[in-house]
């Protein structure tokens, strides 16, 4: 057994001083198995999403709780979960998945304010935060708090109400969980507060330069929208029937494990060859290690959540 492992992983006479797993035929075999594994995983994912599906622990109630904790920590009043803003967030999330875009403004020019008005919320102030690719509510809130523009929304004293949508689906080619956070404070024309008649959105950079939609709010929203919670959540705000295995986590873990495996094997190979002064016509270990490190870092970047 020991000899077999040495033959597989350590440069030795038995493997012509090159770990067996680094030989061309072994690499080809591993690549073939990887492709086959990918096809099998995708097949199970499509056929049995309850076994191998998309999973997230992000819930509306946690998002609300963490948002209000941040506000209270900064001496601000907590926000109320508003059915209209929740509906607006849901419509925005559905539109983003339907039209495959990741932006505050849709490709056809629909601003967040249109969704808020369509949902029946007549606002004085309004704002929107977006997040995707996160796996927990606390990570989403932390990312928003670490971004100055999103933090400004989270901690704005202008808002009294809030709405969330948490939806999973395929966005710009990637299966992801999208979080939409809509802020607002209602416009009361009979109120005693002196107000700017134009609602002032406090939000991300691209929004600042945008004009606001004119006209009265439209109420012709079709479909059955759960006013209190996004439809994917149950009464406790937890995802319904989470899959046995999270497909994305499985694929990422397999990927990182294989990269780590090859990095270790290549490093062992390089160290042993260097120490034993084994002469090779050519050696590409350093090149390959750097390339796999690049893939690892790129994987880390694309796997981390992003806010907008």
């Amino acid at each position: 057994m020991k000899h077999f492992l040495r033959h597989l992983f350590v440069p030795h006479e038995s493997n012509r001083h090159r770990a067996r797993v680094l030989h061309h035929d072994s690499l080809l075999l591993i690549i073939t198995f990887l492709f086959a594994g990918l096809i099998v995983i995708q097949g199970i994912h499509r056929q049995y999403p309850q076994v191998l599906g998309d999973s997230t622990s992000i819930t509306v109630l946690q998002l609300l709780e963490y948002t209000n904790l941040e506000r209270e920590a900064n001496g601000l009043a907590p926000l109320n979960l508003n059915p209209e803003l929740t509906k607006a967030a849901q419509m925005k999330a559905n539109d983003m998945f339907a039209n495959d875009y990741w932006a505050h403004v849709s490709p056809s020019g629909i601003t967040p304010w249109v969704w808020i008005r369509k949902a029946g919320y007549n606002y004085l102030y309004a704002g929107e935060n977006l997040a995707r690719g996160f796996y927990s509510s606390s990570d989403v809130i932390t990312a928003w708090m670490n971004s100055p523009e999103h933090r400004a929304n989270m901690l704005s004293p202008n808002y009294t109400d809030i709405g969330f949508a948490v939806e999973s689906g395929t966005l710009t080619g990637t299966e992801t969980t999208l979080v939409v956070q809509e802020f607002g404070s209602p416009y009361n024309p009979n109120g005693t507060v002196a107000v700017n008649p134009s609602p002032t959105p406090v939000s991300a950079g691209e929004l600042a330069a945008l004009g606001l939609p004119s006209g009265s709010p439209s109420a012709n929203v079709s479909g059955n929208v759960n006013m209190g919670q996004p439809s994917a959540l149950n009464a406790e705000g937890q995802p319904q029937n989470p899959p046995l295995i999270d497909a994305n986590a499985l694929k990422r873990n397999i990927s990182f494990a294989i990269i780590g495996f090859f990095l270790i094997i290549l490093a062992i190979d390089a160290i042993v060859v260097e120490r034993k002064k084994i002469e090779r016509v050519f050696s590409h270990n350093v090149d390959h290690i750097l390339f796999l490190l690049f893939i690892l870092l790129a994987g880390y970047i694309i796997g981390s959540g992003v806010v907008l």
Partner: protein, 86 residues
Amino acid sequence: MRKNIKKHSGHYLVYLFTFGAGLVFILLAQGDSTLQARLIFLIAALYFVWAMVHHYVQHNLSPRVAIEYILIVVLGATLVLFLFGI
């Protein structure tokens, strides 16, 4: 190995710059998975081109060398497919 890196330090600087620039562009493309995937495949292709030029200059370019780089690039590309959940 160390001698080889020192002797061809210019080659390795180009190599590291390419990877570094690639990572920056991937970071800037956050939110656009398609563009990120294209960037990674582009860098993988550039890695192969760099290796071929590097070994050609060293006068040790052979089909065996080319095949090894192709296999590593294909391995990396397959892992990228996993990472993107494709």
